[in-house]
Subunit: 294 residues, 2 copies
């Protein structure tokens, strides 16, 4: 991973009428210290984020990512982001991307403890080479997320539907997958339903239908999954959001993990049981996902 650019944003109120935000932006060197230790992102993982793919200089799906950022902000009692300011910042940073695949992160923290202003920044870095995951797939293990399917809706303080910076569990799940000889994890509810991967959405092919676990207070609505559903829909393929028992993941005719940077990675094994990879469709999906999308 190599840094391409980094921009600090001085967040304005969501109804700020200005059209030019230049004076609220400041490029900085990401290898130099930029955050104070009092920042609640570092002290308590108290903030939210989004990761976007940037392909040949084009930031993918900016609208859906900003919508989700705003949704997460609401769930976390953070001030609503000014979407025009963020759009402008994203465009400025993307201009530093050059050719190839990059990953852009949008971050919004609750700010420095005791001060009322959020901290906001964007980073841009070269993306890891995901060729192999896209072609040969990923082996996954299922891991209990610890709660029943209906819990997140009745316990919103658990913030399970927000993309927060309190992401240590997601990283620990991936380490546990590696310990078990797999590449990635799929979280399942304690009552036996498929949720999502630590950093991706699960997509299943069941016969002619494409199904993803219904987004809810506990399952992030995947921007890449939305994009894939719209692509499949235009081709007349049936897509559906459903409650998916864990056994269906094992039995599905094919399955993928969808995310903004790795894109469509076919699932090659679930808990050690091999799964057929639909290479033609996977290649087609990734060709689409690598094309400019808004």
């Amino acid at each position: 991973m190599a840094w391409r650019s980094a921009l600090l944003i001085d967040p304005v109120a969501s109804d700020d009428p200005r059209e030019d935000f230049a004076e609220t932006f400041r490029f900085f060197d990401p290898d130099e210290p930029a955050l104070r230790v009092g920042d609640l992102s570092a002290q308590r993982g108290d903030g939210i984020f989004e990761s976007l793919g940037v392909i040949d200089g084009h930031p993918q799906e900016v609208g859906p990512h900003l919508e989700r950022l705003a949704h997460s902000a609401g769930l976390c009692d953070l001030p609503a982001p000014h979407l025009g300011q963020w759009r402008s910042a994203i465009a400025r940073v993307a201009a530093h991307a050059g050719a190839g695949e990059n990953v852009m992160k949008l971050l919004l923290s609750r700010g420095v403890e005791g001060q009322p202003i959020p901290t906001a920044w964007i980073t841009l870095a070269s993306a890891p080479d995901n060729t192999r995951s896209r072609r040969d797939g990923v082996d996954v293990v299922t891991l209990d997320r610890g709660h029943a399917l209906d819990v997140p809706a009745r316990a919103p303080w658990l913030q399970l539907g927000a993309k927060t910076l309190s992401y240590a569990v997601n990283m620990a799940a991936i380490r546990e997958a590696h310990r078990r000889g797999a590449d990635d994890a799929v979280f399942v509810s304690s009552d036996g339903f498929v949720l999502e991967a630590p950093t991706a959405t699960v997509l299943l092919r069941l016969g002619d239908r494409f199904v993803t676990p219904e987004p809810s207070a506990g399952i992030l609505h995947g921007t890449t999954q939305i994009s894939v559903f719209s692509y499949l829909g235009r081709r007349g393929v049936e897509t559906a959001y459903e409650t998916v028992p864990t056994a269906t993941l094992v039995d599905a005719d094919a399955a993928w993990l969808l995310s903004s940077v790795r894109l469509a990675a076919p699932i090659a094994a679930v808990d050690g049981v091999a799964k057929a990879i639909d290479r033609a469709l996977t290649d087609e999906l990734n060709a689409y996902l690598l094309s400019p999308r808004d």
Copy 2:
């Protein structure tokens, strides 16, 4: 809150034989940027921490806090901290405390993404005035932690027994308590057992016995609670770790939240039902907790 001091630590291996660590420490201005945006504490809440009280210059219970830091590091696959180096750093920072109550935070993050070295730092700040909480108590609401009592032990990747920087849920629970007109929350398991408060341990008096929920993979072993148990034990009072049904919190003869900085805060109400405060014992406990402890 006013900063008193801040120290960056260059962590050494846990078996480093040196006796003087001066060259691994660097005091810095906590109002100036000190962390890179690539630091995984800020990007993903991926790290651990401890909060200590520092009373009239004396850091309280350094040993138990360092033990717990090492325990959290193990649970999170972080390199074991060198306890001698941390002790030395704590002593240097505590020298800047002066009179009165201060709060010291020890932080250990996984470091900058893609680099193998953890980031470590200590901050020291004046403590908030907790006189009123200690005297008049705190009203609490019970909030579902989302999982059954036995989940954390069989799903260690959820890291529920580690004091991680992914602390946004704890902060969201306290905001939810405020929304409900209370001061603080007590987490209960989805199968109806008392766990802990977002930043404190629950202590109950049941007749002549003092009981706290049994520490487990899902309940942090409280350093202040250990200290109180040892104090009560020396006075011949019976103390016990038990599985505590939620109803017992409501029915207990008295209850407290114990933590390193607020110390013993009597619980004055649970979900709107008032609870008698044992002021004499509370004052006695806080006098003890404010005395120098190692």
